[in-house]
Every structure is written in structure tokens, then in C-alpha cells.
């Protein structure tokens, strides 16, 4: 005779880590598809190579042992896809592979695997690429080039440790009018030219050298939030605080400061707000903490963009937010029923 004995509760909600991660991957697929449509084979190769590098790194560190999680939990896949989406489409594949390996290795494995990392692994990988390959990571190429599905962007296929081919002269050689590799953020920063909000929102106009459409990212994020796989507070806080700060600064100097729409829809803010800042492991666990954390990231993004040497600041803003997370959690503990707010006492 056998009877099963378990400790209550005997039932369980069916949302599990694997299901959450799988849904995030699914929601990323339209975004990746759009990216491939924009940049063709180079983007496809970049997505595949970076993701495979992340999976290989995951497998390597899992085999070393003492790691939580497994390849089937989809988390390394998410890291790979997100990292590839933050890199320029013509980023040399060997550099992408290296960034992917670093993302998993330094971003996650050294902390002990899924659930233990302090920083968003994809952004650790990108941070490494930014430091190691500053030129390559700043080199964008125009989207929707006519031969994108047959020809690689020449820099993609650079041999390891060789200087990538010069894409600027390649773009010039294509003889397409009004095309340049300067991103809208770079043009604002260095030339004072501000692209139209609608063009930025859709990523469809002309040959803008930008990532996938912020509108599409927003739609995919809405799906995740609706299904309960993403906490809506964080993107709302990030975008809200960035928009508020930009709106406050805009009237002071309309020539120098862009309008809030430009701040929201340019660069990587939308991808960062919806997919990177919301990484559950590296964002605060408390609801109030999520608001603070998101607001911090949004404000830092605007400050870094406006006063930094580089045009983009989302990555640094999120990494700083990740670093502040333990402290934010400490000061935002929930109020227990029937009591005053919990006070943290140091052990």
C-alpha cells in the first residue's frame, strides 16, 4: 500500500521559471525577425552566432559544475538574443561570440548560475564589447540595404583579432543617396540633427541605422506583461522618469536638448526598459523597489546621454541600477499586515 504524503500546499500555479523564460524567447522572436528583415544575413548570423556562443558558454560552465539551471531553462538563449540585439548588425562575428562567452561567464557563471547573478548578463557582455571593441561597437550601417539578404556587411566576417573591413567606404561605394552609418543618437550628439519621432518609433523610414522598431518592442512587452511574465512597473518607471526628466530639460534649451519623444524612441532605451531592466534576477523584488529602480535607470539614461562623451547611456544606467538593487530592496521592504513598515536591522 502506498499513500503519498506532502506538505501543503498540494496544488501549484502552472507558471514556472522555464515557462516564463520560454515565453520571453517567443516574445523576442518577432523582434529578431524584424531585425533580420532590417539588416539581412548579417543580422541573422549575428543572432545565431552570439546565441550559440552563450549556449556553449552555459554548457561549458554547467559541465564545470556547481551551477544552477540548465540549457533547457532558456535563460542563456535570452541572454544571447538580447546581446545580439544590442550590438550593431555588422559587428564582427568573432567579437560577438567572445562577448557572448563573457556575458555568460562573467555575467552569470561566476556568481553561481541562474538566480545568483548581480548584473544583467547580456549587458555585462555588451559592456565587455564596449571596452574591448570600442570602434566596432560604434559602427552602424544603414538598414534596408537592397542586397542585405545576399551580401554580408563586410565587417561581419572579419577574421579573429584582425581589424574589420571599413564599412564607411563600403556604404559610400553602394551609391545610395542620403545614407549614412551615423545613428540618430550620434547625429543628435555630434551634429545636432534630430530625427522624427515617427521614423524612430517604426524604424521603417529610409535607411535609418537603428535597431528593431520600439513600437514592436513595446507590443511584445505588452504581451509579456499581460501574461504576467514581466513586471509592468519597471518599464513604466524607466520610460516615465526618462520622459519626465527630458520634458523638464527640453524647454531650458530646445536647441541642445531633444524632445522627450526622441529620448524614448532613440537608441536602446525601449529594448533596455522592456527587456533588460526587467530581468527578474537583477531587479528589485519589492514592488516599491521596482518603481525606484526603474526611475533611477530612466533618469541616469538621460543624464548620461546629455552629458556623457558617448551618445548612448542605457547600458550604464541599467548596470548601475543592478548595482543599486540590493540597497533599494533593503529600503523598500513591504509593510506587514497589522504593523508598521519593517525596519531593516543589520545582522
Amino acid at each position: 500500500m502506498t499513500v503519498e504524503i506532502r506538505s501543503a500546499p498540494h496544488i501549484k500555479d502552472d507558471a514556472g521559471v522555464v515557462k516564463i523564460m520560454r515565453n520571453v524567447v517567443w516574445s523576442l522572436l518577432p523582434i529578431c525577425g524584424f531585425y533580420v528583415w532590417q539588416y539581412g544575413v548579417s543580422a541573422l548570423a549575428s543572432l545565431v552566432v552570439v546565441t550559440c556562443a552563450c549556449l556553449a558558454a552555459e554548457e561549458f560552465f554547467l559541465r564545470l559544475g556547481r551551477q544552477s539551471g540548465d540549457l533547457g531553462d532558456w535563460s542563456a538563449t535570452i541572454t544571447g538574443l538580447l546581446l545580439a540585439l544590442t550590438l550593431p548588425p555588422g559587428f564582427p562575428l568573432w567579437m560577438g561570440a567572445m562577448a557572448g562567452f563573457v556575458a555568460i561567464g562573467l555575467g552569470k557563471a561566476i556568481f553561481g548560475g541562474i538566480g545568483h547573478n548581480l548584473f544583467n548578463p547580456a549587458l555585462v557582455g555588451r559592456g565587455f564589447a564596449q571596452a574591448a571593441f570600442p570602434t566596432a561597437i560604434a559602427t552602424y550601417t544603414p538598414s534596408f540595404l537592397p542586397d542585405r539578404f545576399t551580401d554580408f556587411i563586410p565587417s561581419s566576417l572579419a577574421l579573429p583579432f584582425m581589424t574589420p573591413a571599413d564599412t564607411a567606404s563600403w556604404v559610400a561605394g553602394l551609391n545610395i543617396d542620403g545614407v549614412s552609418g551615423a545613428t540618430p543618437l550620434a547625429r543628435w550628439k555630434f551634429e545636432g540633427v534630430i530625427a522624427s519621432n515617427w521614423d524612430l518609433l517604426t524604424s521603417l523610414s529610409g535607411h535609418l541605422p537603428v535597431g528593431p522598431s520600439p513600437l514592436l518592442i513595446l507590443a511584445c512587452g505588452l504581451y509579456l506583461a499581460y501574461r504576467g511574465y514581466l513586471d509592468w512597473r519597471i518599464p513604466v518607471a524607466v520610460l516615465g522618469s526618462a520622459a519626465l526628466l527630458a520634458a523638464a530639460l527640453y524647454p531650458l534649451n530646445p536647441q541642445h536638448f531633444p524632445d522627450p519623444g526622441f529620448v524614448l524612441f532613440s537608441g536602446g532605451l525601449m529594448l533596455g526598459a522592456v527587456y533588460m531592466a526587467t530581468d527578474m534576477v537583477t531587479s528589485p523584488v519589492t514592488p516599491l523597489g521596482m518603481w525606484l529602480y526603474g526611475a533611477l535607470i530612466g533618469a541616469l539614461t538621460v543624464i548620461i546621454r546629455y552629458s556623457g562623451g558617448l551618445p548612448e547611456g542605457v547600458m550604464y544606467a541599467i548596470l548601475i541600477g543592478n548595482a543599486a538593487t540590493p540597497m533599494i530592496e533593503r529600503i523598500t521592504q513591504p509593510k506587514a499586515f497589522g504593523t508598521e513598515p519593517t525596519k531593516e536591522t543589520r545582522a
Binding site: K12, D13, D73, V285, F337
Partner: protein, 449 residues
């Protein structure tokens, strides 16, 4: 959530909505036949075990006291069946612990009418007389608390009670016994309410019923006394609405502090089934010898709301409802807070409100699934009705930092509703860890102040 409840904002904060599975809600109460042998443990509740009054070989009639209360926090037990006392011996209970029990062999030809009662005019008695009358019925908290009902009715005079909160929520999935009692025995509930109100200094009474039971609300409203002192409120269906603290919050917007009794905020909570049996038994001087129990679960062929004689062996009931007795999981109570039965030879006792039977490995219990480290999704914090941080508590439990759990993160406020474990996508057995932590802390000597 219905729009009007949303607008009134009247539910307690957080909580969850597990699938209800209340398929037996419209099945009338039906009687379970008497088993050939019934086993009445002398200890079925909080407090001291009862002292046996009968001898082996003695004939007893249905309703006759078998054992008397030993002190104030203790209740008598009565013969659930007319028969012969076959033995007074150790017998396993549902948790596997063996306890002193009276075994009665039922008289096969008996009509099994209740042949033992002491009717009394409660109105003529003073308060302590009424409390003694309640004690003689042997009723304990039927919502699962199993605290002697008469002892709970003795509220310290320095705490005036302004509201009797009658708990008809039945928020656990599957369970429908309280629902049927509200529909079929509303009059008994009203008598129980009037008895309680008298002992509590005539406060108003509010019956809180989850809004998934409109027929119960209707039946109760039809039975309300004309005085207007008793009202019925449909409250949002949300787990754990049936926890006393949550129902007080929902109905009165008062928060009971941790470590305090509900009367410290002027409220007194009593379960509908307890009141119904109190109202039915105390005035007639009868004993608590049977109760309505929901029998459900996927392995049950004939689920329903059965009137089960106390002491019925679990195997007899499983056989009657067409449940297998091999490779199953049996739960006493609901699936969120109920206890797994370790021994099928156990009898059914006063605290059992539901019996759920599932095939082995069918329930996706957290402990049976692969568990991940906490991914800090925050779902537990968003669901914990007590406003705790189960995520951090779980991490502290893994490091065995039990004192920090209690001192900084208010482990003591956790009433083990299981919400955190239910929602955790990483399958961390949170509430299970908290039970262990509390157990360890209870074993520790008090720290010097």
C-alpha cells in the same frame, strides 16, 4: 473581480485565485452509512484529551457520552453509533500518530436514531451555564482550528467585541461543505449566531460569504432575524479570504496585529459550520457525532457532501465513494492548507472539513517538481496576504538564519496559507521552509531581553 467590488475596494490586499474546482457545490448533503466499526480517538482537538466514561463490553446508544472533558480547554466525545464498546486501545490517526481510541462495534439491526439528549432552555441559564452547555456538545472549531468552541466564547472582559464576524467564505478549492450548510441549515446558523451574540455582549453580526456562492447568500438572507442586527455580505472570492484576519480586514477594514487575537480590534470570528452545529446541538443537549464533509478529488467516483459519523474509518469512506486505496494522495481539508493523510486506517475526526483523493503524482505539488534558485520575480511578495517578503525569508531559511527571519522579517506573522509556495515559479517550497523554521524557533529557549 466584479466592478462594484473593485470600486468599493473592499477586499484585503494581495492574495490569489486558484482554480475553484467546486463541482460538489450543488450536491445536497447526503448521509454516509454507518461503518461496521467506528473508532473515536480521545484526543481530536486542541486541549487535553477526554477521559473515557465507558468500559469494554458495554453497550452504548447513539449520542451517549463516551468520554468527558478533562478541564476547561477540553471537550467530551459522544458515541456516533449505537453498539458495543469493543476495545479502548491505541489506534493510528491521520498523521500516523497512535492515540488512545474507543472502538465501537455497531449494532447491525439498530435504527441508529439519536437516543440520548438533554434538552435545556438556554435563555434561563447564565453565561457560564450556556458556555457549559456548549462544552457538553463537544464542538470544536470546524473550520480546521479544532479549538474548543466554548473556550473561544470566553472573551476577556477588557476587550469589548463590537462585531461577530461569521466566516462563510470557504475559500479553499474543492471544499463545499460550508456552502451546503449555509444553503440547507441557515436556521441552525442563526440560532448559533444568537447564542454567540448573547455571550459576547450582543454585538452586531456580519456573515461574510464569498461571492461565488450567491445561493448561500440568498438562503442566509431569507433566514435573517427581523432585528436587523445580523447582516450578510458577499465578499470578493479570493484566497485566503477565509482566514479570520483577512475577513476582518475585508468586512471592517481593521488589521489584527501579529501575535494579537482578533478581539483586540473588537471582532470575534466564528466559522458557519461551527455555529450551525452549535445552534442545532446545544439547545437540545446533544453531542457532536457527525458532520458534513466534502469528499472530492479526481480519484473519487462519487464526490459529494456527505454527513459522516465521527470515527468512520477512512477506508470505509473511500470504498463507499468509489476511490482507490492504492497509490493515492489523501488530503484532510483543502489543497492549500490541508494535511496529507499518512495512514488510511485512521478514523475521520471532528476537524475534517473535506477529504480530497487524488491519484499518486497527479497533483503538481511544489516538492515534486524541479526547483530553481529564486529568480526574484516578486510574485510571492505580490501575493502574500500578510505583506511579508517570502523571497527573502526563503533565502534566509536556506541559510538557516531563523532568528533574522523572525526578528527582521516577521516570520511569526505567517499563518502558512501556502500562497507563496503556490505562486513560486522556481518551485521553492517556501511555506514548507517556514514551517521548519518556526519549529526550530519554538524549540529554542527564549532569548534574554
Amino acid at each position: 473581480m466584479k466592478l462594484f467590488t473593485f470600486l468599493r475596494g473592499e477586499a484585503f490586499a494581495r492574495g490569489i485565485h486558484p482554480p475553484e474546482h467546486k463541482g460538489t457545490a450543488h450536491q445536497p448533503i447526503t448521509r454516509l452509512p454507518f461503518a461496521p466499526r467506528l473508532i473515536v480517538p480521545l484526543s481530536q482537538n486542541v486541549g487535553r484529551p477526554a477521559k473515557p466514561l465507558v468500559k469494554v463490553g458495554q453497550d452504548v446508544v447513539r449520542g451517549q457520552p463516551l468520554a468527558e472533558a478533562d478541564g476547561f480547554v477540553s471537550v467530551p466525545h459522544h458515541a456516533p453509533v449505537s453498539g458495543t464498546v469493543e476495545a479502548i486501545r491505541l489506534n493510528p490517526t491521520s498523521t500516523g500518530v497512535w492515540t488512545e481510541s474507543v472502538v465501537i462495534k455497531a449494532h447491525a439491526g439498530s435504527t441508529q436514531a439519536v437516543e440520548w439528549e438533554e434538552p435545556q432552555d438556554l435563555a434561563a441559564l447564565d453565561d457560564s451555564g450556556v458556555i457549559a452547555a456548549v462544552q457538553r456538545t463537544g464542538i470544536v472549531g470546524l473550520g480546521g482550528g479544532v479549538f474548543p468552541t466554548h473556550a473561544k466564547l470566553k472573551v476577556p472582559k477588557e476587550f469589548p467585541v463590537d462585531t461577530l464576524v461569521v466566516n462563510g467564505c470557504e475559500c479553499e478549492p474543492y471544499l463545499t461543505s460550508d456552502h451546503r450548510i449555509m444553503v440547507e441549515r441557515a436556521r441552525d446558523i442563526m440560532i448559533g449566531i444568537e447564542m454567540s451574540r448573547r455571550l459576547l455582549g450582543n454585538p452586531r453580526a456580519i456573515i461574510g460569504v464569498e461571492d461565488n456562492k450567491p445561493d448561500a447568500v440568498e438562503a442566509l438572507r431569507a433566514a435573517l432575524p427581523a432585528s436587523g442586527e445580523v447582516t450578510v455580505e458577499a465578499v470578493p472570492t479570493k484566497y485566503p479570504q477565509g482566514a479570520g484576519e483577512m475577513l476582518i480586514k475585508t468586512l471592517l477594514n481593521r488589521e489584527v496585529p501579529p501575535d494579537a487575537r482578533s478581539y483586540s480590534v473588537g471582532a470575534y470570528v466564528q466559522n458557519v459550520a461551527t455555529l450551525a452545529y452549535m445552534g442545532a446541538l446545544a439547545p437540545r443537549g446533544r453531542g457532536f457525532i457527525e458532520r458534513v464533509i466534502t469528499v472530492a478529488g479526481t480519484a473519487v467516483e462519487r464526490p459529494g457532501n456527505y454527513l459522516v459519523p465521527m470515527g468512520t474509518p477512512l477506508r470505509f469512506l473511500l470504498d463507499y465513494v468509489g476511490a482507490p486505496q492504492e497509490a493515492i494522495e489523501v488530503i484532510y481539508g483543502g489543497p492549500m492548507m490541508g494535511q496529507a493523510v499518512a495512514c488510511l486506517d485512521a478514523p475521520i475526526t471532528k476537524g475534517v472539513s473535506g477529504i480530497l483523493v487524488f491519484r499518486a503524482r497527479e497533483l503538481a505539488a511544489p516538492s515534486a517538481k524541479k526547483s530553481f534558485p529564486c529568480i526574484k520575480c516578486g510574485k510571492c511578495i505580490e501575493s502574500c496576504p500578510m505583506g511579508l517578503n517570502p523571497s527573502t525569508l526563503g533565502m534566509l531559511a536556506a541559510k538557516r538564519q531563523y532568528d533574522t527571519m523572525a526578528d527582521t522579517y516577521r516570520l511569526g506573522a505567517c499563518f502558512e496559507c501556502g500562497t507563496c509556495s503556490y505562486v513560486c515559479p522556481a518551485n521553492i517550497p517556501l511555506v514548507q521552509q517556514f514551517r521548519v523554521a518556526k519549529q526550530v524557533l519554538r524549540g529554542k529557549p527564549e532569548k534574554a531581553a
